[in-house]
Symmetry: D2
Subunit: 368 residues, 4 copies
Amino acid sequence: MTTAELELTTASTATQRTSVTMKALVYHGPGKCTWEDKPRPVIQDPGDAIVRLTTSTICGTDLHILKGDLPSVTDGRILGHEGIGVVEHVGMGVSEFHIGDKVIISCVTACLKCDFCRKGMYSHCRHGGWILGNTLDGTQAEYVRIPHADGSLYNFPAGGDEEAMVMLSDILPTGFECGVLNGQVKPGDTVAIVGAGPVGLAVLLTAQFYSPAAIFMIDLDEKRLAVAKQFGATALINSADGHAVHKVMELTEGAGVDVAIEGLPATFDICQAMVAAGGRIANVGVHGKPVQLQLEKLWDRNISLTTRLVDTVSTPMLLKVVRSGKLQPSKLVTHRFAINDIMKAYDTFANAAKHGALKVVLTNGAPR
Amino acid sequence: MTTAELELTTASTATQRTSVTMKALVYHGPGKCTWEDKPRPVIQDPGDAIVRLTTSTICGTDLHILKGDLPSVTDGRILGHEGIGVVEHVGMGVSEFHIGDKVIISCVTACLKCDFCRKGMYSHCRHGGWILGNTLDGTQAEYVRIPHADGSLYNFPAGGDEEAMVMLSDILPTGFECGVLNGQVKPGDTVAIVGAGPVGLAVLLTAQFYSPAAIFMIDLDEKRLAVAKQFGATALINSADGHAVHKVMELTEGAGVDVAIEGLPATFDICQAMVAAGGRIANVGVHGKPVQLQLEKLWDRNISLTTRLVDTVSTPMLLKVVRSGKLQPSKLVTHRFAINDIMKAYDTFANAAKHGALKVVLTNGAPR
Amino acid sequence: MTTAELELTTASTATQRTSVTMKALVYHGPGKCTWEDKPRPVIQDPGDAIVRLTTSTICGTDLHILKGDLPSVTDGRILGHEGIGVVEHVGMGVSEFHIGDKVIISCVTACLKCDFCRKGMYSHCRHGGWILGNTLDGTQAEYVRIPHADGSLYNFPAGGDEEAMVMLSDILPTGFECGVLNGQVKPGDTVAIVGAGPVGLAVLLTAQFYSPAAIFMIDLDEKRLAVAKQFGATALINSADGHAVHKVMELTEGAGVDVAIEGLPATFDICQAMVAAGGRIANVGVHGKPVQLQLEKLWDRNISLTTRLVDTVSTPMLLKVVRSGKLQPSKLVTHRFAINDIMKAYDTFANAAKHGALKVVLTNGAPR
Amino acid sequence: MTTAELELTTASTATQRTSVTMKALVYHGPGKCTWEDKPRPVIQDPGDAIVRLTTSTICGTDLHILKGDLPSVTDGRILGHEGIGVVEHVGMGVSEFHIGDKVIISCVTACLKCDFCRKGMYSHCRHGGWILGNTLDGTQAEYVRIPHADGSLYNFPAGGDEEAMVMLSDILPTGFECGVLNGQVKPGDTVAIVGAGPVGLAVLLTAQFYSPAAIFMIDLDEKRLAVAKQFGATALINSADGHAVHKVMELTEGAGVDVAIEGLPATFDICQAMVAAGGRIANVGVHGKPVQLQLEKLWDRNISLTTRLVDTVSTPMLLKVVRSGKLQPSKLVTHRFAINDIMKAYDTFANAAKHGALKVVLTNGAPR
């Protein structure tokens, strides 16, 4: 880039700064959020990109935020950390994306340069991590500013389906990295997934990359269990009667499971009770308080227990598998709304059991 | 075991030693083998088992032996290293198998005690390795003596199909260990398999355990390529025109493949020409002479090249996957013969292209 | 082995059965054990060996047993699971050891044949595991019967030192496998070891196989910390003031340690408080009750927590390293007693702080 | 960064562009290079940094370039890809380094953003790789432009020694990654290093991170072998008599070595002849023509052969180990010259045997 070009870009950045507005879902304290006017974001740092959203979705974490569970999210924040869109502006330091590129936005922002990013732990990036819809304005809007765009966006594949691809923003890498990779699922393994919500189902879909011999899905909701059956679970266990562990032990002839994937805090006890000697417990859920670990039973069982915030390092690989047709994430989508109806979408998602909802997709109209 | 029992077993061993005969396929030098009478094998060591065969098969290596390519195989040797059968006698040191157990015979004999076995390299077992039908009498017979039975037999699963299970003696672990494991096939990878014979097809079937995004099958024979298509190959390349490498480069947009699995010595050059930077070449074929390695092209490409004689350490896992229904090895069987027709079976297998033959299964009748 | 030989061995076994006595340390309920006459052990199974002990030692677990903490140990049991000796008899199924061989006895008995042994999890061997001095008579005696001898004994290296080698029975593989391997210590890592007792020091010695940049040793006892300094610890932290975590954070500029190795139940809290994001907590201690796991702090920290009963699969490697001179385990020995003075030895070991005792070695005299 | 700041930086970049000269070693075709005036480099891209060199060194590759072996190096190129210096200017996209920072320059330039960098294969970076002193002007000069500075520079540690640290530019990561990591050196292993030149000695130093039981150094030069002895080799083999393989087999009781590290094309045959079953051959040397691979001997030996251009992904770890004092790379430095005497330094290095030279360090004086 020559000096002349540098100046040109700077000029264009300046022009872009004229204040125009957009619609966005703004958090105003526990229980309150509105679809309202906000200024369109502008380039602030050389690594930034501005993306016009075409598709987004709602995450279970967004519901926690709305309840006020995350103090890092403050009044005035635009919510959302998942989305598909088109690049409208890029800073001078962005080299991998250009205006007009269609992109998948990763829920985790990665500078790629810090010690954590260099180790593949983007979740702990010293300049990023999970910040969208958390400490920075997010994707449930018409436009979003993506810092460190080169590490935080992925090219949308030609011919791809936006509904499928938006699952790559968060839910698929989360299920895969925190559940399947950390659980070290191997061919022939017996796997139990506790919780058949969207993330549990993402675990179920991606666990099959490694051809386990059996996958037990455990949940309280018969409808979700029925979905799990269609998605490849080999046995369904309704834990409502409190006998899930007993049933797992019967199915495994007393051995327990090689991998227990824990999707909800309440299921931690089930997981530690049913893991086989030599097995792995992979924590996927978000925990708000301590749990009791039965080390008096587990100390000599050669088990491992892992925690992880999704790093999204697997996104390039997941993209390849989705493109190959071996993974069809659009199966997770049950409801669709125009972005202007986002309040209805939240209502549907917040009452998932009633509506049989898994993932709820939001479609943005043409830019104003 | 009490002293009394020890004596009893010794006595029974003695009784068993009365010489009775059986039929077996005996090698008599290059090009000569006959289905003839031989003494039934007896227990010679405490770790031995005598197995009455119910199903066996013929390996490409058996054809090499018949041509006289393997000097370790001498006149009088009973051929064959694959089979299913029923345990008829066990030595005093055998603890895992009992008379009447139906078993899968591994092509590799493992003492489990030596340094190589302790490292999982059964192929280099100091007291075993590939000896059946090589330096010891083999399985193309009515009975076979299996040394180190506890490490060399596997329980036949209840409800299993003998035709499917006999593929676990050799061809499936060979394809899986030498090709797939050594090639480190991962989800999203692009894999090329050169050679669509039985072992190449076993690679194809087991590579899918890890959900590669693309599998190219390369062969000269259109019929075998058509089979590969049914077995899951995503692209077929007939290399008859000498442009296989060019086609692979087109399919991979110039990158080459992540994993090149070499099933025939003649294909080594193709493999090194089409492996991507960071890729793996996994040798599966048996080589009789040196090859030229293009280190001037590969030294800075971060590739690995592996060789391996099958260890059969993956057999327990493969058994689990076959039982789960995710792998259906009986697809490899194209022809069936009664054991008494073994000469016809060899003729069919030796002229595989003409007969469209892959694996040829031999069924033993009831014991005499 | 011919039938004649089989009979001979049987005869010899019979002869060997004449009841002769030996001295042994026998447990008679909590707080009670005596050095008394017991019948010498005899071959009971084909895989057995009888070993005449020349050196043994006392483990912290033996003290727990004496207190009555392990219900599996019943009245009349000979204690001890560590030792060096000479093979006096072998069963017919033993192939790797012969009469007169000098051997190291592993604390874990491994059949090598079961599914757990095949996976390298000897600790969970279906026919063995930790049974010596637990559910079977042990090594604090003049003779001991070792079941599955081929998997449970190791050749004593020519020119070896018995005091050094007896550390290979338990303490070195325990520290190495449960602490160092499970903790995945890597070059450049920062490691904290909590507890400078014999096992903690074994962790310290074997962690250095992987060249961590820093090893912090944490203990309450200044004498043990001083030993740790000599053994290679790069920083010593006396946790008596309750500020161990604070000091670790200072030393690591707030990052915490890559690996926290927990040697005592009481130190579990310290470990989880000082592990870095992406780090590992390796449990080494024996736990009698549950602990509280701060999942609300750890769920998004990408940590792993492991438990393990020593498998002794690393013993062949440890032997090589000891022979190379890179590991000098005799440094762990502080006190020596004749076996007849075993009661004094227990007293010294039980009051380790007072006596500055680490490992206490027992030397057997010539056989009677 | 605000728009105002952006403009400021642009202005400063413009100012910096006034043409001033520096001294540099310039290649003018085979056999010709001169220490001559060249324009000082300036920022060309937002990711660039300009570094004023304080220390540099000469690599064996530089000698190859001088001979005309590398067609990618053309007339007018400044040589050199190793160095320590101080950052004088940074582009707007550089976030990790600032003016005045003392830095280690990596021989490999990494954008950190492309698919290869994301996989840790910086050597194949789509925008970098080994370009310094190759396709771009290098470090044997007073100033150098470093593209993608955030991925290609490392902070010089406080209190570090420039002579030691300049070994981190190339030779230490090359020996470690291509030799030790690819060779998978493990505790207890037997390792042979063929070639005791600077890179071979870097392999020797870094192999000891993993505590192999034995390291054999093989070379023709007794002086270099003597150095290897001081650096930790456990056996020295002078291969002048053509019996190196025989000696290795004697030392390993016929087994061969677990890891054979090949530092020179001429030694490839030795490596394949002495690798044990299950062993690894790690190629480190630069090859100009094909080699013969004895697949007829190796096909069933379960070996792996690897190639690699150094990625420098291990540099952060190596820095930690150097800082901990466990690795003292300044031992590799035998000769020191002022940068103005670079022609003498080349002469010494090119006649290494005569001068007993290993690494030759060049010290730059104060900036003009």
